[in-house]
């Protein structure tokens, strides 16, 4: 590891450690926690949208499934946090395989509408299957997590749990993208037929990427359920999918750091836009359109381009480390 890199990581670690002490009030601590949960969600959507090129509207439903699974297991069966967290991940994997198997063969728009249909079906189940999901009133009294005797009761303690989980998930995601499989996923996005001619098993690659992302979503759902201690159908609207896509487009679809930039900016912006209320979604819609035209590779793409220029001046070498979805046609 180079020295500059070491200092950078040290700085990030220090900021992450002291962040909750910089924010005094409960509400902004809650917002920071939501940034982390959304970050996990954005990572999982970026795998599907940025790396496999599928427009998904179904990940919020998977997030809901994770939340409900975790909530049910810990309230009705009395499972501990770690067990229900892991089982929520298993539920996410099952959903990924069941939904992914029929839908991933489909071309772009068909996939998008199929995932939208999946979301609507799940929404109806959350709302109407009262015996299990509690109907519109949802499930209350989810215990706060305790791992090996450490209680994560307050928002700031929960923050550290979220930081650890997010870092683990980010590492998994980074390793996936940088590995051989990650390269095959990108190749498949850019040209599926050419990729299959090169010997890539396209259906298997697609379904494994999709399943990985649904597992992440379900884990994020579980974390959410244990944080707010209450799940109800209105926490998982279709609009949330739009917000997630906004994060990806703003951050940079198909860039490693894209979802992180996007989730930080969008969650914080969402809080400021809160006083605009009904303009909120309108601003997002127009924002997506404008960004797609003028800044299609997002913040991460912008940074990458600046770096590219710097490197070209300094070393005389022309290359970019990462290529987003937009640059490859």
């Amino acid at each position: 590891m180079k020295r500059g890199q070491f200092i950078k990581y040290l700085f990030i670690a220090a900021v992450l450690l002291i962040l909750p002490y910089l924010l005094k009030d409960q509400y902004s601590r809650h917002i920071i926690n939501m940034v982390f949960i959304n970050c996990i969600m954005a990572i999982s959507v970026n795998i599907v949208f940025g790396y496999t090129g599928g427009l998904t509207f179904g990940h919020v439903a998977v997030y809901g499934i994770g939340a409900y699974t975790s909530a049910l297991l810990s309230t009705k069966l009395g499972f501990s946090f770690l067990v229900s967290f892991c089982l929520a991940g298993v539920a996410g994997a099952l959903v990924g395989i069941i939904v992914g198997y029929p839908t991933l063969k489909l071309a772009g728009p068909y996939f998008a509408l199929a995932t939208m249909g999946f979301h609507k079906v799940m929404e109806m189940i959350f709302l109407n299957w009262e015996a299990v999901t509690g109907g519109p009133s949802g499930i209350t009294g989810i215990p706060s997590p305790a791992i090996f005797g450490i209680q994560f009761k307050t928002e700031e303690r929960y923050y550290y749990l979220l930081v650890i989980v997010t870092l683990v998930i980010y590492t998994l995601y980074r390793n996936l993208i940088r590995s051989h499989r990650g390269k095959t996923i990108t190749a498949m996005r850019d040209n599926a037929i050419a990729a299959s001619a090169m010997g890539i098993n396209v259906p298997l690659t697609r379904i494994s990427a999709f399943t990985m992302s649904t597992v992440f979503s379900a884990l994020a759902g579980s974390l959410y359920a244990h944080m707010v201690k209450y799940v109800a159908p209105e926490a998982f609207p279709l609009g949330e999918s739009i917000t997630l896509l906004m994060m990806i487009v703003l951050g940079g679809p198909g860039f490693l750091m894209g979802p992180i930039y996007g989730s930080v900016v969008v969650v914080l912006a969402n809080e400021y836009l809160q006083n605009l209320e009904q303009f909120n979604m309108l601003v997002f819609g127009i924002g997506i359109m404008v960004l797609l035209i003028f800044l299609p590779s997002g913040i991460a793409g912008l940074i990458e381009r600046l770096r590219f220029r710097l490197r070209a001046e300094k070393e005389g070498v022309l290359y970019t480390r990462e290529v987003g979805i937009e640059e490859m046609k």
Binding site: P102, L106, G108, Y110, L113, G117, I193, L245
Partner: protein, 293 residues
């Protein structure tokens, strides 16, 4: 008794199916011409409903005039979005255009909230509220009118595409753009026509069902999904398929609401869509196509 009920439900399904046909036609037209699925189709439908409310209820114009005016207005909105939002993306990854149309849907529904408020609007009755009684089978006259108007619009539209010189040119542009341009087809006009016409078809549907439904700003999404399901059912890109799919979807939806469960009526439609995509993604009428390099 059972047979009467069955026939009753099928007839109800046909009348709502006529509306799905209009939506599916819009999807099919655009998919065939420029290979784009327009996610805001249902929002044009919603916009049509609101535009007719504005013209008929607020400005007190006659009903026929408000149908024409609202269709034209919504078509203009469709063309405007094509010019502003999709033209610059033409050479991008296809997912970007798809996403831009999804963003259009959000912009339209939220603008409608700002203009007409979040509440549902009730359109007054236009057609008579009589009910025809054919030996036990009840047919509301307004349902009859709605389906007849929808069918007439579809026939006229099809005739325009098949018989007139302009329509033939547009169909040629859908098949081979460069060739059509070489033959003197105005591609810009053809593209605008596609966007305008599919928005207009959605809007006409919205105007026609406004008297029997509540019009709300967020109704677009569910109609997008239903119109899309109908288009896939018949085979995306085929005009006959869209019409068949629309009627089939209407009938199936009504039957499942009556005989299975009305709470999960919409869920049944989505499950149907998923099954269809799984087993016969090319639709009922089209032969499967193999993608080649």
């Amino acid at each position: 008794m059972f047979i009467t009920q069955l026939v009753q439900q099928v007839i109800g399904g046909i009348s709502i199916g006529a509306i799905y046909c209009l939506l599916a036609l819009g999807f099919s037209l655009m998919s065939r011409a420029i290979n784009v699925i327009h996610f805001a189709q249902g929002d044009f439908f919603m916009l049509g409903g609101f535009a007719s409310i504005t013209f008929y209820l607020i400005l007190k114009l006659p009903f026929w005039l408000s149908i024409i005016l609202s269709t034209l207005c919504v078509s203009c909105v469709g063309i405007a979005f094509e010019r502003i939002a999709y033209k610059p993306l033409w050479k991008s990854h296809h997912v970007f255009i798809l996403m831009s149309t999804a963003a259009t849907s959000i912009v339209l529904s939220n603008s409608a909230v700002l203009i007409w408020g979040p509440d549902a609007w009730r359109f007054p009755r236009i057609f008579s509220d009589q009910v025809l009684n054919l030996s036990g089978i009840l047919i509301p006259v307004e349902m009859l009118w709605i389906s007849i108007s929808a069918v007439v619009i579809m026939i006229l539209f099809n005739a325009f595409l098949q018989k007139t010189k302009l329509g033939k040119g547009f169909r040629a542009a859908a098949q081979d753009r460069e060739m059509a341009q070489g033959m003197g087809v105005n591609l810009k006009l053809a593209d605008s026509f596609v966007f305008g016409a599919s928005a207009g078809l959605g809007a006409v549907g919205g105007v026609l069902v406004a008297p029997i439904l509540f019009v709300t700003p967020y109704m677009g999404l569910i109609y997008t999904i239903k119109g899309f399901t109908a288009a896939v059912l018949g085979g995306m890109g085929s005009i006959r398929g869209a019409i068949l799919g629309g009627f089939l979807l209407g009938i199936m939806e009504n039957l499942s609401a009556a005989f299975i469960s009305s709470t999960y009526k919409d869920a049944i439609v989505f499950v149907l869509l998923l099954l269809l995509l799984l087993f016969k993604p090319s639709g009922l009428l089209l032969k499967p196509t193999v993608e080649k390099v």
